[in-house]
Amino acid sequence: MADLRCDVGGIRAPNPFWLASAPPTDKEYNVRRALEAGWGGVVWKTLGEDPPVVNVSSRYGAVSHNGQRMAGFNNIELITDRPLATNIAEIKRIKRDFPDRAIVVSLMVPCVEESWRAILPIVEDTGCDGIELNFGCPHGMSERNMGSAVGQVPEYVEMVTRWCKQNTRMPVIVKLTPNITNILHPARAAWKGGADAVSLINTIQSVVAVDLDAMTPLPSVDGQGTHGGYCGPAVKPIALRMLGDIARDPTMRGLPISGMGGVSSWRDAAEFIAMGASGVQVCTAAMHHGFRIVSEMIDGLNNWMDAKGYADIASFRGLANRNYVQWGDLNLNFHTIAHIDQDLCISCGKCHVACEDTSHQSIAKLPGRRYEVIDEECVGCNLCAHVCPVDDCITMVPQPATQERMVWRQHPNHPENAAVVAPEAAI
């Protein structure tokens, strides 16, 4: 039995699966059910100043792909629409009843120090374990100069983070928006402002679909739509990239990260941790399946860690991040080739047509619907292995190294190398 305990910037939890600040953590009723189901922690649905915001009716959109419902999920909801005092009282009761769990409170108030100084003691009084600054909400709040409107300006991120650190003893997590060109800038600002951790990603600005009968973007509110925030399995690759970039940045060494964006299973969580996260947060998967999925997540992570011999989270945290490099550091002399297991092949022809039409014409179609890789032509792009519907039928086989490792900077085609070669050649 592996030790699943996690620590994100001094906030401790019995396991790394936290519910992200969203409808699942909206009120005492849900949170109690979640913690009873075994979630390691919750980040309470973002609190704001009174009077509370109002939400529209019709709030979510989703992308179903090939039978996979909610492959991507989008919402146009705002922060909590309940009075501050109600939330505060509930948080207090929850923390009292679940002292071992991480109870973090998400906050979003106007970008003036007064507002922050006013709300922090109220929150601190609940006994919660920390706060998360919502600098990410990409819709509704950003138009009011909050949420991602702050998160997109590194100077504001640093400033608000500093106000919070100066006005509370609680650990401060800064939640980053992905709606920005370079995630490192707001992350570094948070680090400079004294953040105890960053969390990412918040949702991505999106229009999820169009109703072709009504001719409205979805979700539709009385015949009109607006952009929302995109999340769910579809955004995981984007989250992993941003997380990886922050985790490997030498200027932020030691900054704990709470990873999220499409985490739906223990495997996703393990990938986030391997890329450098100290723990993960989950929203869409819980909204899709209910709170009990955490038991599969805990069980799966535990069994995998036991099988791999990882005693605790720290033993594998960031291991993949070490191998996350710039393109220019990749070995240009590495070569891998597709191999088809003819016993498994069912002759669907998909590898052939994919390679023939869109790659390197390296899979021959022989009589009797036999498909064979032409080794000399294969560039090792992996396309065929991705399209093959049969598990393990096409494997990519690394070829024995015939030449020294060489990166782009060393390659003769690199402009700087060419510049040296060209004049000599001209002589």
Binding site: N66, I346, C348, G349, R369, V390
Partner: protein, 468 residues
């Protein structure tokens, strides 16, 4: 000997309704979408090759998954205008679904037939026609027989703008779709509804009560029309002459009451408005090993026969009924006895009482029966053509274009050599129509691009199966 062992009214009305309702109900829209998404959209898909009419199967299935049922139906019907009945009657387990790569992968093919039905049902529900006729050519073609072969030929000729007159002996069109296929495969008057749909393209006149060799002659048709297509099926049945034996069986076994040809039994059942009026025995023995034998047995059982036995002279592997049909029979509580060669019929008072078999070891066994159905094969009756048309292997001889030995006379379907399946008859009728069209106009082999509102796709031809 009580006289009404063979009788109708064995079930209540509800019982008949259940017994003869759709054997394989339609997919729901959700089932269809989930199933359509199982299709890999194969390149050079083996299922297409296995379909005698060469339907673009991945193409029509992808259109179902896309929510484009109109395009899906049109893709099917363009290759096979009987797509609706084929979806219900094709032995897919030896055709497209056997070839489906998912059969190789997990022994669970994409259910192509059921998806085909989903799309074609949509088309028929709309009541609209997917195809437009080309401008009339002024050419006239006679088609003999309103079965799948004749109508597939007629439809394709009409689309090319030719005028078609179909000469049909019977009062109803549809051929064996109307008179032969098991009732639970084509319930709810499907054959007639499909016929109406097919004729809806226009340019086809069907004349009933016109039997070639009686009301019309081939010579007259050749004189009046630019071309003739023969799609007359197989009218005759192979004889099974068995001696009569037993106490008071007088003379001729064939005249024993309770001994019938299976196709006659099925025809009567298909045509009965009220299935309760169709008489069936208590103990029914069906002789034969093909799908007709299975169909007859299944329908006897559904009429309420207590015990139904199929007796086949050889082993399971030799039966021409597919494994799927054999299993279906067994799970319907039908006994199949193999290695049972019929030797003699037993009777009393002019009524059959049993049938005697010689078993594998040479032993004789008497199987009691009050009804015996003979399903030992249909035959082509060359009578009306024998003199003038070349016959080969007992059927009309044709070349790969469907041409008979007479100029501008074509033939296809069960009256020519090859697999006796609806889908094969359709392919042959369609391909003969293309050949006739080419001969009449020197036109290219494919449909004109403006035949439909959608983008044209080439029509896959099909080599004639094993010619005699």
């Amino acid at each position: 000997m009580d006289g009404d062992r063979i009788r109708g009214g064995r079930l209540d009305q509800c019982g008949y309704a259940v017994a003869f309702s759709d054997a394989h109900p339609a997919l729901t829209p959700t089932q269809a979408r989930v199933e359509a998404e199982r299709c890999y959209y194969c390149y050079d898909a083996p299922c297409i090759e296995a379909c005698p009419t060469g339907i673009d199967i991945p193409g029509f299935i992808a259109r179902i998954a896309d929510g484009n049922l109109r395009g899906s139906a049109e893709t099917i019907l363009r290759s096979n205008i009987f797509g609706g009945s084929c979806a219900r009657v094709c032995p897919t387990e030896i055709l497209c679904e056997q070839a489906c790569v998912r059969t190789a992968q997990e022994n669970k093919p994409v259910v192509i037939g059921a998806l085909q039905r989903h799309a074609t049902d949509w088309q028929m529900r709309t009541g609209s026609q997917p195809f437009r006729r080309a401008p009339t050519t002024g050419r006239r073609v006679a088609v003999v027989g309103a079965g799948p072969a004749g109508l597939a030929c007629a439809h394709r000729l009409a689309m090319h703008g030719h005028e078609v007159v179909v000469f049909e002996a019977k009062a109803k069109g549809g051929g064996l779709n109307e008179y032969g296929i098991a009732a639970y495969k084509l319930p709810d008057e499907f054959a007639q509804r499909e016929l109406e749909f097919i004729l809806g393209v226009g340019g086809i006149e069907v004349r009933h009560g016109q039997k070639l060799g009686e009301q019309v002659t081939l010579a007259a048709l050749r004189a009046e029309y630019d071309a003739v297509f023969l799609g007359v099926g197989q009218g005759a049945v192979r004889a099974l002459s068995l001696p009569a034996a037993g106490a008071s069986a007088a003379g001729d076994a064939a005249s024993l009451a309770g001994v019938l040809d299976a196709v006659d039994f099925i025809r009567a059942l298909r045509q009965a408005e009220d299935k309760a009026t169709v008489p069936v025995g208590d103990r029914v023995v069906v002789i034969g090993g093909g799908n007709t034998a299975v169909d007859a047995a299944m329908q006897a059982k559904r009429l309420g026969a207590a015990e139904v036995t199929i007796a086949y002279r050889r082993g399971p592997e030799h039966m021409s009924a597919t494994g799927f049909e054999q299993d279906w029979a067994r799970t319907s509580n039908i006994r199949i006895r193999y290695w049972s060669v019929p030797i003699a019929l037993h009777g009393a008072d002019g009524t059959v009482t049993g049938i005697e078999f010689e078993t594998a070891g040479g032993a004789r066994e008497l199987e009691p029966a009050d009804m015996v159905l003979k399903a030992v094969g249909q035959l082509f009756d060359p009578e009306p053509f024998g003199e003038i048309l070349a016959i080969s292997g007992g059927r009309i001889a044709v070349d790969s274009e469907g041409r008979t030995s007479l100029p501008m006379v074509y033939a296809g379907g069960d009256c020519t050599a090859g697999n006796d399946l609806t889908v094969v008859a359709v392919a042959e009728g369609r391909d003969a129509a293309e050949a006739i069209h080419r001969a009449l106009t020197n036109a290219p082999a494919t449909l004109p691009a403006d035949a439909t509102t959608a983008a044209p796709r080439p029509v896959r031809g099909m080599e004639k199966m094993a010619n005699g």
